[in-house]
């Protein structure tokens, strides 16, 4: 008995040690990574002199001064306007992206047609195509349309499945689903659009949510496109407003700027924590299953 159990205790000890080492690495790296974020949130509630003074988190003289003034932004509009502006083009963008990506992905994943592979390859190629090579002609084109200083250039292209990544994501998800249910629906009398609506959409709902969430996040973060298309401050989304507010207030009011940054990140953070499993599923479905 002792001959057998002795090495076993050894193994258990090594296992525990390795687990401990792993936790140490994970916690250490995690703290290093997240500390700047905590510091930012904490600094929003500190007076300015305290931010310069220490790297600690807890405010010694907590104040809402930064948050309140940050919300007012020091421009003619408050942060509420910029948040609403962001949503004004992000909502149609998300909706159009979801609808067009699902339609196109359904076409690619479930229909036999000549030339399909060429189109699919082109779609994957657009994922790899650098945006800056399209930026200038797109700008000129939208200028011809008279769309400058409107939100149209920001979301109209999404109605045409221009984000190949999302189409690819849904196609990969659909490929993992046996077509039996859809065939059963065909026998039940559905045409292809009814199959899509009654069967495919409910079944691929996780993928649809992933697409919507990613598009939401990326659009909130997007800076370059609003930068070139929007010129009136009253139409600025959060990203532009933040950059502008910094140019105005940076030198003096650290707590205001950091408070604004914190507020700007809140929508993303809330959405992420509410729906984090869809992010993980979404990002992995495009890569691992393929």
């Amino acid at each position: 008995m002792s001959l057998i159990s002795a090495p076993r205790r050894d193994v258990a000890w090594i296992g525990r040690f390795s687990a401990l080492l792993r936790y140490a690495v994970l916690i250490g790296v995690g703290l290093l990574m997240l500390y700047p974020l905590f510091w930012m949130v904490a600094a929003s509630f500190k007076p300015n002199h305290e931010i310069f003074g220490s790297a600690g988190l807890w405010p010694q003289e907590p104040t809402m001064d930064g948050v309140v003034k940050g919300w007012r932004t020091g421009t003619e509009y408050s942060f509420a306007t910029y948040l609403l502006n962001s949503f004004a083009f992000i909502m149609p963008k998300v909706l159009l992206t979801v609808v067009s990506s699902v339609l196109v992905a359904y076409g690619f994943a479930r229909f036999r047609m000549p030339g399909k592979q060429l189109w699919f390859a082109l779609m994957v190629a657009t994922i790899l195509l650098p945006k800056s090579v399209l930026l200038i002609p797109q700008y000129l084109m939208f200028r011809e349309f008279g769309w400058l200083d409107t939100y149209l250039p920001l979301y109209v292209p999404c109605a045409f499945a221009t984000d190949g990544f999302f189409v690819f994501m849904v196609v990969q998800f659909l490929r993992g689903i046996p077509p039996d249910m859809e065939e059963a629906a065909v026998i039940d009398g559905c045409n292809s659009l009814q199959v899509l609506w009654h069967v495919v959409v409910p079944v691929i709902m996780p993928a649809i949510i992933s697409v919507a969430l990613f598009q939401f996040m990326w659009s909130l973060n997007d800076f370059l496109y609003p930068l070139i298309y929007l010129s009136s401050v009253g139409k600025y989304p959060v990203a532009l407003a933040l950059k502008m507010a910094i140019d105005v207030t940076e030198a003096t009011a650290w707590n205001q700027v950091l408070a604004m940054s914190t507020i700007a990140l809140l929508p993303s953070l809330i959405v992420f924590f509410l729906a984090q499993k869809y992010f993980v599923e979404g990002i992995t479905s495009g890569s691992v299953k393929g």
Partner: protein, 297 residues
């Protein structure tokens, strides 16, 4: 599945229209523009054909050469480091530990937020003269550094912003690791293979498709980085963080040299295309696709 070609094409019609209007047409237009002297403020009709003028200008443009050098430096530092770090953390996470979900989420947060203006702003404060990093340095007994004012350090801060977002690549690696059937490890252990041996003969080969995917995505994204340098450093100091996308933007929308900017964008496109083609061509030598499944009946 369905034989109906017409409805198949109806479903992908939005994509085909979008491809023609918002991708292929601009793609060719920028190619044509790159041979012109077109200025942003002029009507398009005034564009004159310059021949290879913009490209010969590029050959003698020190700013372009500098930008190209910085871009390559940036990509060659960030991509391997980010992938290696993401793989390492994924490997650490890929065990039956309690709280894995928590760590995965924590590490993923920066990837979600990292591209935003807010984080770029935060970065300026973290690396400012009396910002977070320098405060920690002084507390630890070191000298504060001029992170954003010194060319060598400025690129480092931009690089670090990208490395900070390793979470998305890590999540993909983690999913890839969890996809490897455990009986392979068990079989290898019974065959007497050690841990390192198992990692190099089983884990790594089976992970190559995921590595390949991450590698391509990271290369393509790194070559297009814009927000970080634009907001944190504005491309400076001394153009030490003047990445190509930033230069393209400024040429077109600050100096209005659209023709030249288009030529620069085509240079960037060709560089990315070259890397992608090399990656795809080399894939058959190092990417291992196991049980390949054909779409079929």
């Amino acid at each position: 599945m369905y034989d109906n070609r017409v409805s198949g094409y109806l479903y992908i019609a939005p994509f085909l229209i979008g491809l023609a209007t918002f991708t292929l047409f601009p793609f060719l237009a920028s190619f044509l523009l790159s041979f012109s002297d077109y200025q942003l403020q002029d009507p398009v009709e005034q564009a004159r054909f310059l021949g290879l003028g913009n490209y010969t200008q590029m050959a003698g443009d020190d700013t372009f050469h500098g930008s190209l050098g910085v871009t390559f430096l940036y990509v060659f530092i960030t991509v391997p480091l980010k992938l290696a770090f993401a793989l390492f953390i994924a490997f650490v996470l890929n065990f039956k530990l309690r709280g894995i979900g928590f760590f995965r989420t924590a590490y993923y947060v920066p990837s979600i937020l990292g591209g935003s203006v807010a984080i770029a702003v935060l970065w300026r404060y973290v690396f400012a003269g009396d910002g977070l990093i320098n405060q920690v340095l002084v507390w630890a007994g070191g000298e504060p550094l001029n992170w954003l004012g010194e060319p060598a350090y400025a690129l480092f801060t931009v690089v670090l912003l990208r490395l900070w977002q390793f979470g998305s690549a890590m999540v993909v690696f983690l999913a890839g690791l969890q996809n490897i059937p455990t009986d392979l490890y068990e079989a290898a252990t019974i065959d007497g293979a050690g841990k390192a041996h198992i990692f190099f003969t089983i884990t790594l080969p089976l992970l190559t498709p995921v590595i390949f995917f991450n590698f391509i995505m990271q290369i393509v994204q790194a070559f297009q980085e814009f927000n970080g340098p634009y907001i944190i450093t504005g491309g400076g100091p001394l153009k030490s963080t003047y990445l190509l996308p930033l230069m393209i933007y400024e040429e077109a929308f600050k100096y209005f040299n659209v023709g030249y900017a288009a030529a620069l964008s085509w240079a960037l496109f060709l560089i990315i295309a070259l890397f992608t083609i090399i990656a795809f061509a080399s894939a058959k030598y190092w990417v291992f696709y196991g049980n390949e499944r054909e779409d079929g009946e």
